[in-house]
């Protein structure tokens, strides 16, 4: 039995307090605060989406190409579907894709980056080189190629974007872990005879969470960006699921007659990515990262 009375690491409640204080301090960072509000707005919208939308996202009607009006705030498309309802429900597609992909990237990247930093030596060498090679190809190109082989679809998009995140998150996790690795409480845990896994998960990981939080916001923004681009190219979520990128891609033939088909999904994508990037910028400032 290991005696944990010699635990020098910050306690769990300290860390929760820390996390809250970061969010509170965001109030004084205009950009970060606006970002937080935008993301909260979209979270509320996507949770209550079915109660907000006046029509079903895939309901056809005879009101084709109606401009924005009281009945259809964002107009209708060539099948008479309500664009407002599609944009609102589309936020669920965007959120679930981006959150899952970010999570996948975080888990994979942190596991690899942390082990590379902790074990050093050949483990670090092999992992580092592999990530370098993976990172040396444009993410969108890899995504395009892999989706071409696997075929489009929600799960495949999540996997592809998540994997594209791994090397970048891995690099951040590695450099953050390197700074924590040699601190006293890690040394103390080693002296106590804790296992490697315990030290990595219970001692190092909690202390790189603020860095990972900033990175998660950046990767979330990029996930929305990538999944919208893949949707636009026709390699992402397949119709009739309302997907913002896909909606814009279908709107291209009607830009002259029905510009609202492109404008509203574009605003949705832009605001969500911008919100996440603002939030990341604010978080970086309050956690004391680079200015």
């Amino acid at each position: 039995m290991i005696d944990r009375s010699l635990n020098l690491a910050p306690s769990f409640s300290d860390r929760v307090k820390n996390g809250f204080s970061y969010l509170l301090r965001l109030r004084r960072k205009p950009l970060g605060f606006i970002g937080l509000l935008i993301i909260l707005f979209w979270i509320v919208i996507s949770i209550f989406a079915p109660y907000i939308t006046p029509y079903g996202p895939t309901d056809f009607s005879t009101d084709k190409f109606f401009g924005p009006s009281l009945r259809h705030p964002f107009g209708t498309d060539r099948w008479g579907r309500d664009v407002f309802s599609r944009v609102i429900i589309g936020s669920r597609t965007a959120f679930s894709l981006a959150l899952s992909a970010t999570l996948l990237g975080l888990v994979g990247g942190t596991a690899l980056g942390l082990s590379a930093a902790y074990f050093g030596g050949w483990v670090e060498e092999v992992l580092g080189r592999t990530m370098d090679i993976l990172m040396s190809f444009p993410a969108l190109l890899i995504a395009m190629f892999v989706l071409g082989v696997l075929g489009p679809g929600t799960i495949n998009v999540i996997v592809v974007i998540g994997i594209a995140h791994i090397p970048r998150i891995g690099r951040v996790a590695r450099s953050a872990s390197l700074q924590v690795k040699n601190q006293e409480f890690v040394e103390a845990a080693r002296v106590r005879g804790e296992s490697n896994l315990y030290i990595m998960v219970a001692e190092i990981l909690p202390n790189i969470l603020d860095t990972l939080g900033v990175e998660a916001a950046i990767r979330f923004a990029y996930s929305i960006f990538l999944s919208a681009s893949l949707g636009f190219l026709g390699l992402g979520v397949q119709p009739p699921t309302p997907d913002w990128g896909l909606m814009i891609s279908k709107s291209r033939s009607y830009l002259q007659v029905a510009p609202w088909l492109a404008i509203f999904p574009a605003l949705a994508i832009a605001s969500m990515v911008l919100g996440a990037n603002f939030l990341a910028e604010g978080l970086e400032e309050v956690t004391g990262g680079e200015q």
Binding site: P138, A228, G245, L255
Partner: protein, 319 residues
């Protein structure tokens, strides 16, 4: 220096070779039978077998890989499956030239502008101009290029009618004639990269201005102007070389979206359509080209960087 360049060159060659294996293996793993695709679904079993034999599809995988690779080295990339009888090599070359024009155009626009904005913003961190640049560049990196492209089309083609929305360029009609068709795609392609590079240069300026040696130079009593031109700029702009190279990946990746938005006949859209139509020879050749271009740019950047900053030569291997 020569030794480092040599080592880096071998590394680049290996990267391309590894990529070629991966591209070939994945392309071969694609569902669907090539012979069936050429002859259509009503082909007899006999004619399918004959075609497979002629195409060498019955041979083992490694044999076919080397066959393909030796073709690539001889400049023979085979014939397209979806566009019957079209040779891949000239097609790829034409598309590559179009893509290059787009990329070079974007670079010519991005580099001077991002340096100017980044340096001015970085000289006075916290000023209103700096804040403006900070928000604008965050905006630029947040908008996928198809959104920027659509906004540009809506303004300049639909509303004002100044520039064409579709860019089916044909350079045989003369470069100057085609110029209006290039403006919008170049602007759309530039957005994200302009944002990233400006932010990097700005951050790098701020960091160098706060450094010990800038303080020392200032304390020596050299004028601010001279401190900035002689000490700060050189040190701040060096990392920009790498940032630009990394962002070239954006130009290649982002180009897919821009080319699709404007129906621009570049390599990326060629690859995208080849993937959609399971046109294996075009896909393999196009991807290999993009990877080779990417690796070459990275190689070139590393060499330039080494020439500019001699400290790198000996410490690079550890990173």
């Amino acid at each position: 220096m020569l030794e480092y360049s040599g080592k880096r060159f071998v590394q680049a060659l290996i990267s391309i070779l590894v990529a070629s294996v991966i591209i070939f293996l994945i392309a071969e793993a694609l569902p669907g039978d090539v012979a069936q695709m050429i002859l259509g679904q009503y082909a007899t079993e006999e004619s399918l077998a004959t075609l497979r034999e002629n195409l060498g599809l019955n041979q083992p995988l490694h044999f076919r890989y080397f066959d393909w690779l030796s073709g690539v080295l001889r400049g023979d990339l085979g014939t397209s499956l979806s566009k019957t009888g079209v040779k891949v090599a000239p097609l790829l070359l034409r598309r590559a030239r179009n893509s290059m024009i787009l990329a070079v155009g974007a670079m010519l626009f991005i580099i001077p502008l991002s340096f100017l904005l980044g340096i001015v913003a970085g000289m006075r961190p916290g000023s209103w101009f700096d804040r403006l640049i900070s928000v604008t560049t965050l905006g630029l990196i947040s908008f996928p290029s198809f959104i920027t492209g659509l906004v540009l089309i809506l303004i300049f083609s639909v509303q004002l009618g100044w520039l064409p929305a579709s860019s089916s360029v044909d350079l045989s009609e003369g470069f100057v004639n085609q110029l209006p068709k290039l403006i919008l795609p170049i602007l759309a392609l530039s957005g994200v990269m302009l944002g990233y590079i400006t932010r990097h240069i700005r951050a790098s300026m701020v960091k160098v201005l706060r450094s010990e040696y800038t303080r020392a130079a200032t304390l020596k009593g050299i004028g601010r102007r001279s401190v900035i031109t002689k000490h700060v700029l050189r040190n701040a702009l060096l990392p920009a070389v790498t940032v630009i190279a990394i962002n070239l990946g954006w130009l290649l990746g982002g180009a897919v979206v821009v080319e699709a938005t404007f129906s621009y006949p570049g390599v990326a859209r060629l690859v995208l359509n080849a993937i959609k139509h399971r046109d294996v020879p075009v896909m393999e050749a196009g991807l290999l080209f993009v990877v080779a271009a990417y690796v070459t740019v990275n190689f070139g950047t590393d060499i330039i960087y080494t020439l500019l900053d001699p400290r790198i030569r000996y410490s690079r291997g550890e990173g």
